[in-house]
Amino acid sequence: MTTTDDQSVGMDYLESFPRRFLRVYFPLGLIICFLLFPFYWMAIATFKPDAEMYDYEKYNPFWIVHPTLEHIKKLFFDTDYPLWMWNTVIVSVSSTFISLFASVCAAYAIERLRYKGSRYVGLAIFLGYLVPPSILFIPLAATVFQLGLFDGNLALILTYPTFLIPFCTWLLMGYFRTIPYELEECALIDGATRIQILMKITLPLSLPGVISAGIFAFTLSWNEFIYALTFISSSENKTIPVGAITELVNGDVYHWGALMAAALTGSVPVVILYSFFVEYYVSAMTGAVKE
């Protein structure tokens, strides 16, 4: 599929500005407000002192009169939050790299070596992509326990690739397909081995694909919840999403300020990474659907 880059003015000039405003800008603005409001609300609650947070009569809930860092301080110094952040980083980075390595090899073999039965293996890997974690977590918990990995980072590092590898392989297969065969044939004639071809020709040419897969895989593992909730039991081994839900609620006492601070600071790293690689992220997301 090709994207048409249409520079023509079209028939837009026939439309008056107020009409266009009503037809396009107004509904678009409305939807964007709906999509962004929870983030605004998260940020407001993070920097709001408790006195203002629970008193809507005296203070306008949409604004902060005396901004405070009290919730963030509480989160960073009175809870295991820094450890959760560290675990999340370790788990996301390691599982992303493991998945990328395995997927590059698998996609190259399926797409370029075309060994006997490679079509069926490719299809089987795609089917693996359709297996949702919520039907897998119970037997996987048993497997993780049998292997003695329970309640450690390794449990997550090894299980996240189950949903990352099918996705990355499928995406990379699409990228490898676009590289002309002739380049590889030239290299073969020049005496290059298959591994040299992969490292020096195929990979550099499909770098955008590898980056897309890596960024998407990283955000997927940063966001993962159900495995982390099931396989981790002690506070110091938890990831941010699990820690925030399980450790910041004491019985019926919700520390709303700290919860919101955790939600905000846990989202910021992904959002920063995303903002640098938006195009790659989008191409990974749409690429996986289009194939």
Partner: protein
């Protein structure tokens, strides 16, 4: 010269077995597949089979289970909470998917217009999908709070309601609340993928239609929809699968409450298997989701085949 040639021949002979192996595509292909296949068999295929087996046993956490055939399913069939969770899952999936599709398609059409700062707008629209679901669900939890809900406050100030809405305390309020949160999270995915599909439609089709005097609605009905239908089918299949097996939003916002009114099959299986310790029963509930998932996948697969055939493509 001759010596050199001789040694080269010897070298070729010595290494020929390895070289041949490494030049054989089947052998090399198998070697390249090892890391991926090892992980997928150990942590995907094996647990999948184990799950099917666990669903037919009475395994408890820390104990060895006994094979009881369809015993779990028989007891689930009499369990009103299980049937409630099936109803909730279907309601949740349908309600959320229909609205996600409608808003998502509308948003995609809006984003396909000529806009200032288009790529920035697109990046912002995708944010709810990028941010960890659990963390944004915490924000929704606070938005739906019974005493400090901002929605209630605004509606109260506007004079539309007389007392605060109990969003998560009443069964139907709770159901619609989680559906709304799911829509919020899913719309960006639908919109951006459909936008990618819209951008592949050649503008010349619209120009031709304009010349023929087609109205906006006719252009949408006779060009946009047919051209977009294959990608709509794929996107909506993904969206339905993700919604049907959703866990995070429900677990964060309601934990299945009030009185099981928002329990989905995924959250119920977690509650029975991990919180309650009945691994076998929980696995049976997860397994009960499989027929629905297979049906959804087959439906979209055959739908795609048919639309391809209609457009004159090969099977």
């Amino acid at each position: 010269m001759a010596v050199m040639a001789e040694s080269a021949v010897a070298q070729v002979k010595r290494s020929s077995m390895w070289t041949r192996a490494f030049e054989s595509r089947n052998f090399l292909g198998a070697m390249f597949m090892v890391p991926a296949i090892a992980i997928l068999i150990l942590f995907l295929a094996y647990p999948l089979a184990l799950g099917l087996w666990l669903g037919m046993t009475d395994t408890k956490i820390g104990g060895v289970g006994r094979y009881i055939g369809f015993g779990n399913f028989v007891s689930l069939a009499k369990d009103s909470v299980f049937w409630l969770s099936v109803f909730n899952t279907i309601f949740y999936t349908f309600a959320a998917s229909i609205v996600k599709f409608a808003i998502g398609l509308y948003l995609a059409l809006l984003l396909n217009e000529r806009l200032p700062f288009k790529s920035m707008v697109r990046a912002i629209v995708l944010l709810p999908f990028v941010v960890p679901t659990v963390l944004s669900a915490i924000a929704f939890w606070w938005i739906y709070d019974s005493q400090f809900s901002i929605i209630s406050w605004v509606l109260l100030k506007a004079g539309l309601i007389t007392h605060y809405i109990d969003f998560l305390g009443d069964p139907w309020n709770a159901r619609w609340s989680v559906v709304a949160a799911n829509i919020w999270r899913g719309v960006p995915f639908v919109a951006i993928t459909l936008l990618a599909g819209l951008q592949t439609i050649s503008p010349s089709l619209y120009e031709a239609a304009n010349l023929d005097g087609a109205t906006n609605l006719q252009r949408f009905r006779h060009i946009t929809l047919p051209m977009l239908s294959p990608i709509i089918a794929v996107v909506m299949t993904f969206s339905v699968l993700m919604t049907f097996t959703d866990f995070q939003l429900i677990y964060t916002i309601t934990r299945g409450g009030p009185i099981n009114a928002t329990h989905l099959m995924a959250t119920l299986s977690f509650q029975r298997a991990i919180t309650g310790g009945n691994l076998g029963e929980g696995a049976a509930i997860s397994n009960a989701m499989i027929p629905f998932l297979v049906a959804a996948i087959l439906l979209s697969f055959f739908g795609l085949q048919r639309s391809r055939w209609q457009q004159g493509g090969r099977d």
